[in-house]
Structure formats: structure tokens, C-alpha cells
Subunit: 112 residues, 2 copies
């Protein structure tokens, strides 16, 4: 399950760097949760060929993550945003609430 | 000049995805501002070979930027951070200044 979340995210950021075919098969597997056999049938190929393509795709995605760390930065940023929101709530008053809401909106854009 | 800033930044984020030799030569050119002839002399190769390597490197960096947009996101984020800081200054009081400073510190980490 952890793997599925990880690779869904990696596909989301680095997916464009894969070939169209690689991306499709990885999405069937990690996003649509199709089985290897189901993908093989749809793609008119063998279960082993699908398995190999997913393993090769994982390797490529991990290479990008090792070099660019966008997934781990995203996870860190989520924690930092939580801390900022806690701090904003501490200083919120009837007078500044509109500005605080505006700040929260901008921070959510930063954390996207 | 604009190009130099752009490629210095692209090298900073995507540089690990180049070969060691490519990265070295691009850094000599875009960060240390050595001329093609100077780099050729140091690397014991021709001016043309250095030129070709830089052009190929630019192409690779642009391919990553086209797919991942980290440079343009960075530029957008800088504007958003400026807006957040303006808003924080609007609501700063003697009572909340310590928390506001803490928030600013966290936001700078988000924008790194």
C-alpha cells in the first residue's frame, strides 16, 4: 500500500519523463490497481513483459527521485505547512482573520 | 545575462541528471564564466567540442524543465512569498511579532 502511494506520487511528478507506453502501464498498475494479468490482456502482451516494464519504470522513477527528491521535499513541506497553520491560528483575532485567511490560501499554493 | 541566470538555476536543480563531464563543463561556462577557449584548453579538447557539449547540455536541461517546470514554479513561488510577507506585515503587532517571525522562517524553508 505504501508503495502504491509512493509510486502514484512519483508518476504524478516524473511521469512525463517516461515513454507513453511505460506511463500507461504504470498508471494501470499503480493508479487503477489493475493486476498484471489484466494489463497483459488489455495490452495484448505477456504478464512477464508487463512485470518487466513496471520494474524498469520503478527504477527510472527512483533514479529521478534520488536526484531531485521532489517526493521527500513534498512530504517535508506538508509538515512545515501544518506548523505554519498552527502558528497562524495562535495569532488569529477578529481584526486580522481576513488577512490570515488570505495568507492560508497563498501558503496552500506554495505547498502544491 | 538572462540565459546565464536561467542555466545556473537549471544546473542547480537538474545538474545531477547530467554526466559528471557535462556538468563540469556547463558549470565552468555558466557559473565560473570561463570562455569556450579557456574551457577547451583546461579540458585538453577543441573549442567546438566544448560548444557542442554545452548546447547538448542546454537541450537536456530544457527537456527536464519542460517536463517538470521547477524553474518556473520557483519564480512563481518567489512572488507568492512576497505577497505572504506583505500580508504578515499588515497584521504584525507587538503581541504577535515573535510568532510572525517564526512563520516567516518556516515560509522561507518552503520557498527554498
Amino acid at each position: 500500500m505504501e508503495n502504491i502511494i509512493k509510486y502514484s506520487f512519483l508518476l504524478d511528478i516524473y511521469g512525463n519523463l517516461l515513454t507513453k507506453k511505460q506511463l500507461d502501464i504504470m498508471k494501470y498498475y499503480f493508479e487503477d490497481n489493475l493486476s498484471l494479468s489484466e494489463i497483459a490482456k488489455n495490452e495484448n502482451t505477456s504478464r512477464q513483459a508487463v512485470f518487466d516494464m513496471i520494474k524498469r519504470g520503478e527504477k527510472i522513477l527512483n533514479k529521478y527521485e534520488d536526484n531531485l527528491s521532489l517526493f521527500s521535499i513534498h512530504l517535508e513541506n506538508k509538515k512545515i505547512i501544518d506548523k505554519i497553520f498552527e502558528n497562524l491560528e495562535k495569532i488569529e483575532t477578529d481584526e486580522n482573520i481576513i488577512t490570515i485567511e488570505e495568507i492560508k490560501k497563498l501558503i496552500k499554493i506554495l505547498g502544491r
